[in-house]
Amino acid sequence: MAKLPILGLFETADNAADAGDALKAAGVASTDYDFLTDAPYPEGAFGERHESHRLYIFPFVGALIGLTVGIMLTSMTQMAYPLVQGGKPILSLPPMAVVTYESTMLTAIAFTIIGIIFESRLPAFKQGLYDTRITEGYIGVLVNVDEDQLTQTQTLLTQAGAIDVVRKS
């Protein structure tokens, strides 16, 4: 049976956390409900599941690529213009250092940005059930349940203190 979303809106973090507890007690899997807020709350404030990510890999991969590109760019540029200056070698390391450093940092930062967007599961082209009151300070508890459990979940959210429960029309 296909799962359908239902969104409960809460005024306080305590009520939203109570709703989370009630959902857990009702046997809803932790991957089937989420808390939507307009600001970051301390981790675990709603008793939500622990989120793991691999963001830290991205800057390292980016830095390695940037370092390689930087070395290639600067060395190939010098080799392409084989003009001797002041008796110094054609392939001179000091002029390469700064450009290579900058290219390493630039690519590390660019990959970090890609990592943040990727790990945040963005862009989300199809936005699920949502309510604009969330960005006014209400806390949304978004639950995905089987169609036959929608009414039961709605009651559960209301009992936990939801000021409104929204279903997909």
């Binding site: 989120e51 963001l55 800057p59 002029p95 450009v99 943040i116 082209f125 936005q127």
Partner: protein
Amino acid sequence: MQEGTPLQSRQVNRELLVSILNSPKWFWMVISVLGLIVLIAMSAAGVLINQGFGVTGLNRPVMWGFFITNFVFWIGISHAGVMLSAILRLSKAEWRRPATRAAEILTVFSLLTAMLMPLIHTGRPWRTVYWIYTLPFVPYDYARGIWPNVRTPLVWDPSAVYTYLTSSILFVLVALIPDFAVLRDRTTGLSHRIYGMLAMGWQGNPRQWKLQIIAGVLLSALILPVFVSVHSIVSWDFGMAVSVKSWHSTIFAPYFVVGAVHSGVSAVALVLIVLRYIYGWQNYIRHEHIDALGRLLVVVATGWFYFFVMEVVFGFYGREADEIAVRNLQFMVSPWNIWMIIFVGITYFLPVSIWLSRSCRRNLWIMSVACISVNIGMWLERFLIIVPGLARKQLLTFDWYTYRPSLVEWLIVIGTFAMVSMLMVTIAKVVPLIPLYDIKEGEILRTEIKIGRVTVPATFRED
């Protein structure tokens, strides 16, 4: 330090989005006036490109003047954004919240403006494509047998500035995603669609917030070394020049970086004061924030003053004739010596004596005067480094000359200040200059604790 009254999310949205959702009456008038000044500056640049460098005051041996001074100045201003934002984020300083966004955006616009200066200074900006594309598969225009020096320190500069600009833009954009979502929910029609695309489907679940917080810290840690590299590399535009004695100094890198922070943080303080005044953000940009910036500036200014004194001392210490000639010009010959006294007075002694007083740090008018004074002084500092050094570049005295900027140069320099102001006012109409979610997070974490018989405001801080 935790002043002010608790704020509700709805109130934060209403008050901080006032610059976007309501068009103040003065908006178009200010844009028109600043736009006119920018147009005049662009016309002056057009005259320069059409007529050649004869319309400027630049001539042998002073071939770097107002444009390069202005370039270094705007690069310096750009340092405030990342310095404030990154260091305060990493140290989880509570008073960073209202200051970070405006500082980061100021970084982007001042960098863009700075990058215009060397382009104009070339006189033939279309040829600067060869600065970037010195790759084997792009043919170089080696007319008259002149080949590029791919090993010059001048190549380092665009690579550093470009890295810093790209990183800063990405840093700002990532931090804006949650605020774009707020705007998506508060707008209709085309604006709603555009903000919706920029928000990329942001919902604000714990995973997204967790990554957003980590992003702030991780990007701060990555951008900080770039921030240090940029102005040190700008200083090497001068420090690596063997032939100009007063420039050829190893102290230039830290001296320039600390100077940049000095002028940049002062500029951010001024921008915050202006934003507080024009948008009525008294609940957000509070006296405690300006006070904190003032205290920080005392330390930065004193660090800068130390490097300034050492740079002069080292200049004398070597007792080289052409170095002494430059110092003689700077300190003994009018009008340079008068400019030098003014510069030191308004960059260090006047503002620091103001910042030492708590009541002055909390008086926004006095703070504005101090911040403007620092920035005029720091502009003069760059001018007094660049021009006297070149005026006494040669050992042979018959080749000594001075420099007088022309009207074209004045107009272009004034135009850059109008341009940055115009861009700041324009961006305030598009994105919130104070991060909404950061302020809301501060309100969530705000608490009070009772110690003995007093109840003191406190902030919960996560590791």
